[in-house]
Every structure is written in structure tokens, then in C-alpha cells.
Symmetry: C2
Subunit: 330 residues, 2 copies
């Protein structure tokens, strides 16, 4: 496959197909599922939870992959590295990401675990509770990293979820090193409060090597140990050149070059499903930064992209974000 | 699995997972796809069309299976017979139909073709154009028919699409015979104008053995050779005790016992995707008939169920039809 001489963003993450179903709080309680978070599940639990959950919709997902889908929809050039199996869900994932114009050439895992899936339960309050069976995705290894592709990307974007398996974690550090050695930037999203808690010491070290950091309020507090949103932003800003912390309906805060920019959330017609909100905020920010826009402008694009994602079921844009941004800015 | 002593409707059909994607008319033209119809495609065409179509959403489908989903959502007791493969899409199909309360025990096909999928292209006018790879579904055979289950159903409902493969066609006739021998009713939907054209002589014979016939305008005209909607309804009514012919936004006409009932379409907030409209109309009618409601009342429930189906992407109800009917009737 032809690769662009220079791309804006390369995402590296867990290649996952989402299974989205609407349910109620009673089901979460009965199944012992923590609302709003991401729980790793094994094969047995994936089978038993699936057998009890309502009928679903399958859609390609994966945090960094969703972000690449958003950047492509905004008009940015991007590619993705992640591991699927050679099975039907793997075909779905590969088809969908290529169909939206994201380069994807990682060789599928053969003869091992099936493609990762995330059982996402959406409650009437639009919150999503994720139960992830990592399967083939966690077998992403350093040998899957296309060094030339990493060197060709202005930003290599990594998801914190990769830290949940040793093979993938090693690939994570390898990708960051290749990018920095080529004078490129490295971006990281902390991904999940529980993920931060599971790998606290390593995240703390890693953040020092990150150029553009994404976190939500819970993740920022968990990593820094600070008591308030503002102090957590300050603590992260002391370690990273550019820090973007989302704050739910309050919008987000960007800290860079000793300055703090507050970005409002975009107006929302209706809140349906928060799946993908953080991923699409990162898409808007990274698109804006690599397009040379100011940080507040990049933040506004992030807010618009996130608002689109949460106005429907599913994590990826369902309309052209480029047109959406143009229509709002006009 | 426990089966109810008596169920309302048993559906027999092609067990299919839909892949739904939004596209434009230019894509249909370029791919030579007839808008609004169903085209059978082979493995090669399925692969090549999929590689060129936009990113999609996977949802369980299949005409008769969608109808059973609608009846279950209305509160009727139903079951389904159809053939999936032992693969991931087969698991998705089986999970989804069971999760909505429809009995499903057909043994999957092992070592043969993969689970059927239908590549559905939705154009901005909300029309769906279906490209079906029948795969495992066409290997439904007479040995898959659970005779006790057929005898336990007030109505056995068959989809005309089954006629597209000899094995499935034989199963079709066998199911109808078991039902009639047990004093039960047989219902048929003609499914598709082109399907009627492909099997014209056999459909003409079969219709004489059908108790409750479903058709849309195009199918009714194709089967009868009549020139107008009303004369086609009349010609069908001369052969079948109960005939239900849908007429798009004009609603539907029911002919039974020498009487003609006109049923208006239900009010519609927005038209998004016509996939499943006919399937859900049949669900409302069959639910009403087996619940002992009058034909006009059954028709109104059919209209409401169809309106729900076309107000969103995907063929199956996304809210409780029982609650919907109660809220409108209240």
C-alpha cells in the first residue's frame, strides 16, 4: 500500500470491534460492572456476559483508531497500527478503518486469539460502561511497528490502554523512541482512571517523555494525586509541554508554554452515548495542532468533534467533521 | 431449551447479518446496483463490493428474523428457524435473536460457507439497496425443521427469499405441509419483486396454499401481472384467505373474507432508512392476528411497527413496540 511521504498522525492502539447495547442500571449492578469505566475481561467472562446482555450493534472501535477516524474525517492524513486476528471481526475492523481513509497494514494474528471486542453497555443517562476482551489486540509487538511509518508521522499517538499487556507495552516504548529519534512528537492519552491506577509508576515516568498529553479529570487526578482539577492540570503541565485535560460538560483546559487556555464544550442537541467522546476530542486537538492552528482553535475543533460523537450511538463520526466544522465556523 | 407449549408465530428464513452503510446514488450507479431491490451476490462479489463500500455497522437481520424480533417486541411468543455458520457473525446472529426473546435452536453449519451477510447501501433518500451473500443460510434443509415446533405455532411464517436456493425451497414446502397437517396456518411474504420474477411459476402455485399473504405493490404486480394496485389486490384475494399489500407512504390494504380494509401509514417523525419496513409491518399484522385482534387493528399495529423501523438505521425495533403501541393507543 502506498504511504504518504508525510502524514499528520499515526495512531497505535488496541484494534477492537465494539458491541454496543442499551441496558439499565439494574443490569450493571447485577453484573457487578463499574459504570463509566473500562474493565478487562477474559474469554469466559466475555462469553457469559455476552450471553446475558441485550441484542447489540457491532461497530469498529478502539480508542486510538477512533481518534484516527476523527482526524481523517477532519481532512488530516493518518495511519494506524494495531493487531486484529484473521477472522470476521478482524475483517470488519480492517475494512472500516481503510474505508475512512486511514492507512492500515498491520499483519493480522494467525492461529491465536480472536479479534478483540469491547462489550459496551449504554445506560439511559448516556454513560458507557466498557468490558474489553483484548484477544489478538494485545499481541501487538515491537515487530509490528513500521519504523518508516513512525518516522513519517508528525505525531505518533499512543493509547494508555496498551499498557495492559506486556507485549503491547514494549511496543509502546519502542514506538515512542523511534518517533523521538526522528525528531517527531509523541502524544499519549491516559485512557482510563483504572488503567492509570494499574500502571501508576510507569505512567508517571512515561509522561515525562510525552509531548502532547491527553487526560480526563479522573485520570489527571489519579496520576497526579492532586485534589482538584486545576492543581492536577498544573502538576501535569510541569512535566509535559502540552497538556489537554477534558472536564466533561465544562469543556477542557489546555496548558502549554506556561499558559492556560479554557475551551468550552460545544453545544449539544442531544446526549445519546458518551462512547468516543475523549477519542474525538483528541482527534480535533491533534488535527488542529498538526494543521498549525492555535491551541484554542484546536480545542474548539476537539469540542465539536466530541459533541458529534456523543450525539449518536457509537464512537466514530457519522457525518463529515470537516463539513461540520466549516458549517459552525462560517 | 424449553419451548413454549404453544407459540404465536414461527419464522423460517435466511439467517443474515446486515452490514449497513450510508452512500450516494453515484456509488450505486458505479457498482451497477439496482436501487431498492435485493441482489444475490457470490463470495467474490461480496469481497470486492465490501472492499469499496464505506465503513459500516453490523446488525442482525434476515427478513423473517426481523419480523420475529418485531413480534417479540410487541409481546408475542415466537421462535425462528434459520442457518448460520459456526463463526463470529453466526454467534452475533444467534445472540441477538435470543436476547430479544425469540427461541432459536437451529444447528449451525460446520465446515462450510460462512454466515450470510447482506451489504445494505442506504442513499440520502432513505432507500436501501441490498446485496446478499447467502452463504450458510441457503444450506437450511428439511432436516433443520423441528416438526414439533412447527406444530406448536399458530402461524408458520416463511420468507420468499428462501426460494433462491433449492435446499431451502424444499425446506419451505416441507414446513408448510407440517403446519397444515397440524391444522395450523401458513403465512408467506413475497419478499422482493426480482425474487418473484425469478420464481414466478412456483410462487403462483404456492400462493394457493398460503393462508396469510404479504406483498408490497411491486411484488403484487409482478406476481399477478395486473396493471394496477387495486386489481392486483383483487387477483391475490381470489387465491388467498387473507392478503396484506403494502403501498409505501399510502399505507396498506388488507383483503379478507370478501372485504377490503384500507390502513393508513403511521405518522413519521423522520425517514432515515427503509430497511425492515415490510418485515415490521408483517410483525404487527401477525401479532394482531394471533392475538385475536381485528384485521384493521392488526394493520394499524403493522403501520406503527413499520414507522418505528424506518425512523432509524437498521431493520429491527430499537424501542419497545409494546410500549409504543400502548402510548399511541392511550
Amino acid at each position: 500500500m502506498n504511504k504518504p511521504a508525510l502524514i499528520d498522525v499515526l495512531g497505535v492502539g488496541n484494534a477492537i470491534v465494539d458491541v454496543l447495547a442499551e441496558t439499565d442500571d439494574a443490569f450493571l449492578t447485577k453484573e457487578g460492572i463499574a459504570k463509566g469505566g473500562m474493565t478487562l475481561i477474559d474469554t469466559d467472562r466475555a462469553g457469559s456476559l455476552y450471553s446475558r446482555m441485550p441484542a447489540g450493534i457491532e461497530m469498529s472501535g478502539g480508542s486510538a483508531a477512533n481518534t484516527m477516524a476523527g482526524i481523517a474525517s477532519l481532512g488530516g492524513a493518518c495511519a494506524y497500527i494495531g493487531k486484529v486476528a484473521q477472522d470476521q471481526l478482524g475483517e470488519v475492523f480492517a475494512h472500516d478503518i481503510r474505508a475512512i481513509g486511514v492507512g492500515f497494514d498491520t499483519a493480522p494474528l494467525i492461529g491465536g486469539q480472536p479479534t478483540a471486542r469491547c462489550l459496551i453497555l449504554i445506560t439511559p443517562d448516556a454513560q458507557r460502561s466498557m468490558n474489553t476482551f483484548l484477544g489478538a489486540s494485545s499481541f501487538l509487538s515491537s515487530s509490528d511497528l513500521d519504523a518508516d511509518l513512525i518516522r513519517s508521522a508528525r505525531v505518533t499517538y499512543l493509547e494508555g490502554y496498551l499498557f495492559d499487556r506486556p507485549e503491547a507495552k514494549a511496543a509502546f516504548f519502542a514506538a515512542a523512541k523511534i518517533a523521538h529519534d526522528a525528531g517527531r512528537k509523541v502524544s499519549l492519552t491516559l485512557s482510563d482512571t483504572f488503567c492509570v491506577a494499574r500502571h501508576h509508576a510507569e505512567f508517571t515516568d512515561l509522561v515525562k517523555q510525552v509531548d502532547i498529553l491527553f487526560a480526563n479529570e479522573g485520570e489527571a487526578l489519579a496520576l497526579t494525586g492532586e485534589a482538584t482539577f486545576d492543581s492536577a492540570v498544573g502538576a501535569l503541565a510541569a512535566k509535559c509541554p502540552t497538556v489537554c485535560v477534558t472536564h466533561g460538560p465544562k469543556g477542557s483546559v489546555i496548558a502549554a508554554d506556561g499558559k492556560i487556555y479554557k475551551v468550552e464544550a460545544a453545544p449539544l442537541e442531544r446526549l445519546v452515548d458518551t462512547t468516543g467522546a475523549g477519542d474525538l476530542y483528541a482527534a480535533g486537538m491533534l488535527y488542529g495542532i498538526t494543521a498549525g492552528l492555535s491551541l484554542p482553535t484546536a480545542g474548539r475543533i476537539g469540542s465539536m468533534a466530541a459533541a458529534e460523537a456523543i450525539s449518536h450511538v457509537g464512537p466514530r463520526p457519522q457525518r463529515s467533521l470537516r463539513e461540520l466544522v466549516a458549517s459552525i465556523s462560517a
